[in-house]
C-alpha cells in the first residue's frame, strides 16, 4: 500500500527510530511500512494518523484491486 510516511517524517526531521518510538513499534516496522513491504494494522494506521494529525487516507493510499503487501 502506498503511503506518505517517509515524507511526513522528513517534514518533522524525525529519524525512523524517532517515529518508531512514538508509534511504539520497532524501527524495522517503520522501515517496512515506508518501503511498502508491510501494511500496518488498523490500530497502527489510526495511531499514525493521530500522531500526524491527518486522516488515514491522507497518509495511506488504497487503490481498488490492490493486494496486501504482505
Amino acid at each position: 500500500m502506498k503511503n506518505r510516511l517517509r515524507t511526513l517524517r522528513a517534514e518533522r526531521n524525525w529519524s525512523q527510530a524517532d517515529l518508531a518510538e512514538k508509534l511504539e513499534v520497532s524501527r524495522q516496522t517503520v522501515n517496512a511500512i515506508e518501503t511498502e513491504k508491510y501494511d500496518p494494522s488498523l490500530h497502527l494506521a489510526f495511531k499514525t494518523s493521530l500522531l500526524f494529525s491527518k486522516l488515514i487516507e491522507e497518509i495511506f493510499e488504497f487503490s481498488e484491486g490492490e493486494t496486501p503487501s504482505s
Binding site: E21, E24, V25, Q28, A32, Y38, H43, S70
Partner: protein, 132 residues
C-alpha cells in the same frame, strides 16, 4: 522502540527459561547415558526437563505477545514454515526406519528434535528478509 524495564525483565526471564531447559536436558541425557541407575530413577530423570520446557514455552509465548505487529507476523510465518518442515522430517524418518535399518545412535528422536530450532531460526531469517 525503546526497551522498557518490563521488556528487559521479560527478555531475561525468556533467557533464563531457555538456558535452564537446555542445561537440564543435557544433564538428564548425560545421566541416562551412564549406566547403573534403577528404572524408576531413569524414568524420573527422563521426565526431569519437562517442567523446565513448560517454563520455556510460557516464556516464549509471553515473549511473542510482547513483540510489535510486524515481528509477530514474522514469528507466525517462521512457524508456518518450520512446523510442516518438522513434520516432513519426522514422517520421512519414520518411513526410512521402515525402509532400511537406521543406526539408532545417529537417527534417534533425541537427535532429530534438535533440528526443530534450526528450522525455526531458518524460518525467522527467511521471513525477516521479506520485510527488510
Amino acid at each position: 522502540m525503546e526497551t522498557t524495564k518490563h521488556e528487559k525483565k521479560m527478555n531475561l526471564g525468556f533467557l533464563a527459561a531457555t538456558v535452564s531447559f537446555i542445561l537440564f536436558y543435557f544433564a538428564a541425557r548425560a545421566a541416562l547415558e551412564s549406566q547403573g541407575l534403577a528404572t524408576s530413577i531413569r524414568v524420573a530423570v527422563a521426565l526431569f526437563p519437562v517442567p523446565f520446557y513448560i517454563w520455556f514455552m510460557v516464556a516464549f509465548v509471553r515473549n511473542v505477545r510482547g513483540l510489535d505487529e510486524l515481528e509477530r507476523k514474522i514469528q507466525l510465518e517462521a512457524l508456518a514454515l518450520a512446523f510442516p518442515l518438522a513434520m516432513l522430517l519426522i514422517f520421512t524418518l519414520g518411513l526410512m526406519e521402515l525402509a532400511v535399518d537406521l543406526p539408532k545412535e545417529d537417527w534417534s528422536y533425541r537427535h532429530i528434535w534438535a533440528m526443530m530450532p534450526v528450522l525455526y531460526f531458518g524460518g525467522i531469517a527467511f521471513a525477516r528478509k521479506k520485510y527488510q
